[in-house]
């Protein structure tokens, strides 16, 4: 409350002894929060004559915005693509556990599945804010089934679909409802995809290109229709070729409409992408990079066999393969591991800390702290 109440009576929290990432540098600055929003302390001082109700000592830690994972298939034994009696419970369980990795919001991801699964699972989980109970759910990420057979990766071939009924109709038939869907991954070279991309974009759903053999012009056309994301760059798409860069070429394409950015997810677990490739992508288009885990059921579990959607996966160390093959199937790296690995790979100028997560806050409220 300590302010003249001209803007709000809500309590003000001040995080002291911390370093915050600002203007691409770590700076020693205090962070001020009220009602889940970051405050401008200068405005607070001169306009509201305000100061903090509560001070939290960060003991020199780095404060970073909570991590957002837009591609996570499950974890700790929970598989979002598998129907269970308590889909909501499964999502909530993972939501609570990933607080330990600093993730404060996420998109539960469903891999290519039979229509029945979408109809059953989608209505059960609603978009909601995070808090003490766990990370916030931003909406589902539907990875498939409208993807290329040639780049299916670990997705089951029998459930792949095309836009045979013209596009939007297929979409609604397969998914049932698009409420609570935040993102859809599709292959833009599929016939009739343009109308789908437009429809999804207009509804505010992020269209991501992936599991595709599209060439650069097909990818650019999709972007012009509204696509704005690339699913796990380099993986499940044609490799970069100097005469046709394919989807990878979007990073430096001059056909991206004015004011729009194409973002790209990267799994920085040290396995899915060689650090040199990671660096090339980052240097070509630093502002588009988004770290994702693409974590699967087995994340957080010991080595052995586990399920992902309709398939069986085998864990060997930090690798997850389709059982009996060497096809990578998602990752079991946690978000904070990816962040650390990315820092190593890219030699960003961050201060000494090993980027181990010490505590997680949602809306200024502590929701997880590492026990010492």
């Amino acid at each position: 409350m300590p302010s003249n109440g001209s803007v709000s009576d809500a309590p003000i929290t001040q995080f002291i002894n911390c370093r915050i990432l600002r203007d691409h540098k770590l700076q020693r600055e205090d962070l001020w929060v009220r009602e889940g929003r970051i405050l401008d302390p200068e405005k607070l001082f001169f306009d509201e004559l305000g100061y903090a109700d509560e001070r939290i000592d960060c003991e020199g830690s780095i404060i970073a915005p909570g991590f957002i994972d837009v591609q996570i298939n499950g974890g700790y034994g929970i598989d979002f693509s598998r129907v269970s009696e308590d889909v909501n419970g499964g999502v909530s369980f993972v939501a609570k556990k990933i607080l330990e990795h600093g993730v404060t919001s996420f998109c539960p991801t469903l891999v290519t599945s039979p229509t029945a699964i979408y109809h059953k699972v989608l209505p059960q989980v609603k978009v909601h804010n995070g808090g003490q109970h766990g990370a916030g759910v931003l909406g589902f990420h539907l990875e498939g089934p409208f993807i290329s057979a040639a780049k299916k990766g670990a997705h089951p071939e029998q459930y792949l679909r095309t836009f045979s009924s013209g596009g939007v109709q297929d979409l609604m038939e397969v998914y049932g409802s698009l409420d609570n869907v935040a993102m859809v991954t599709l292959a833009p070279e599929l016939a009739n995809s343009q109308s789908v991309v437009r429809e999804l974009s207009q509804r505010g759903i992020t269209v991501s290109l992936g599991h595709s053999v599209a060439n650069l012009s097909q990818a650019e056309e999709a972007v012009q229709h509204g696509a704005s994301f690339i699913t796990h760059l380099f993986n499940a798409m044609l490799p970069f070729h100097h005469r046709d860069p394919g989807i990878v070429g979007l990073l430096t394409s001059d056909q991206v409409p004015e004011g729009r950015t194409v973002y790209y997810g990267m799994i920085a677990d040290g396995i899915h992408t060689n650090p040199a490739a990671l660096r090339i992508a980052h240097r070509a288009h630093p502002s588009g990079l988004v770290l994702v885990t693409d974590a699967i059921t087995a994340m957080g579990l010991p080595p052995g066999h586990h399920t992902l959607g309709q398939q069986v996966i085998e864990i060997q160390g930090l690798h997850a393969y389709v059982a009996g093959t060497k096809t990578l199937s998602g990752s079991i790296a946690t978000m904070d591991m990816c962040v650390r690995h990315f820092k190593q790979a890219s030699d960003l100028v961050l201060l000494d800390d090993a980027l181990n997560v010490r505590a997680t806050f949602i809306s200024g409220e502590e929701v997880w702290r590492k026990e010492l």
Binding site: D40, P41, E42, F45, F46, G50, Y51
Partner: protein, 276 residues
């Protein structure tokens, strides 16, 4: 006048900060007895502010019962512009200490009626019981605050148009673009500062040496407005060696010879048990 000569900028900043600290502590400010402090901006006082912040963090001093009045502010610059004096004070001083926002007074360069704003500022100073210690700097042309050469030595808080030299000098803070530099400022007058019980002027660097010479070895003259303080009962000039380069050897030797006496003013005070 006391002329305090230290070896370098850091020592001068430290001496000044200790002096301010001791003044506040000896005054014993409290809920019904505020210490009123006049404050400058610019590169000269930065070291002093850093030291004061250090003393606050060490627990040696609190600004809870201190009221501050800044000397000046640009006209027409948004308050949250990085070059506004509001931003300067917030970033370099206020955000690091325990001063209450309602006790930190800075002229509002965006007030609808600038004249009224200036008059109100004078009234706030009077209401606070006048200023105990006014800290200021000096320009290369001998000005104090924005009281440029030719300013009346009995002037009050008012709107001033900035001299071309000042605008040029300030361009470096506005990406070298002269069109972006404010052309007017609100400033306390020479008379306003003269009303303070005590005045401390910080002067460091060779480029200020000539101004210091004009201020203390020549007569009182409105072309070198800092010279007005020759007629103030309690003035302290704190400077480094470089700032004395234009003074007579005799002047420098005289005041250096007094340092052992003057240094008593900045000795650590005996610790008092804290009441609250």
């Amino acid at each position: 006048m006391k002329l305090i000569i230290l070896n370098d900028y850091d020592q001068a900043s430290e001496w000044a900060a200790k002096y301010i600290r001791n003044k506040i502590l000896l005054f014993r400010p409290g809920p019904s007895r505020y210490f009123t402090l006049g404050l400058p901006t610019g590169s000269t006082p930065l070291g002093c502010y850093k030291k004061l912040i250090e003393y606050y963090k060490n627990g040696e001093i609190s600004f809870q019962y201190v009221k501050t009045f800044n000397m000046d502010e640009y006209v027409g610059l948004p308050r949250d512009h990085p070059e506004s004096y509001h931003s300067f004070m917030w970033n370099n001083f206020f955000k690091h200490i325990d001063i209450k926002a309602e006790n930190a007074h800075i002229l509002d360069g965006n007030a609808a009626d600038l004249q009224a704003e200036c008059e109100a500022f004078e009234e706030k100073i009077t209401a606070a019981g006048g200023i105990e210690l006014f800290v200021g700097g000096i320009g290369p042309d001998g000005h104090i605050a924005f009281n440029e050469p030719g300013s009346s030595l009995v002037s009050r808080t008012r709107v001033k148009t900035l001299a071309k030299d000042t605008i040029m000098a300030n361009a470096r803070f506005f990406d070298g673009d002269l069109s972006k530099v404010p052309t007017m400022a609100l400033t306390v007058g020479v008379g306003t500062v003269m009303d303070a019980k005590e005045v401390m002027i910080l002067i460091t660097g060779a480029h200020k040496a000539f101004a210091l010479y004009k201020a203390i070895e020549e007569g009182v003259n409105h072309m070198w407005t800092v010279s007005a303080f020759q007629q103030h009962r309690q003035t302290v000039f704190v400077c480094d060696e470089d700032a004395t380069l234009e003074l007579r050897v005799k002047t420098v030797k005289y005041f250096k010879g007094m340092m052992h006496v003057h240094n008593k003013l900045v000795e650590s005070l005996p610790q008092e048990p804290k009441k609250n």
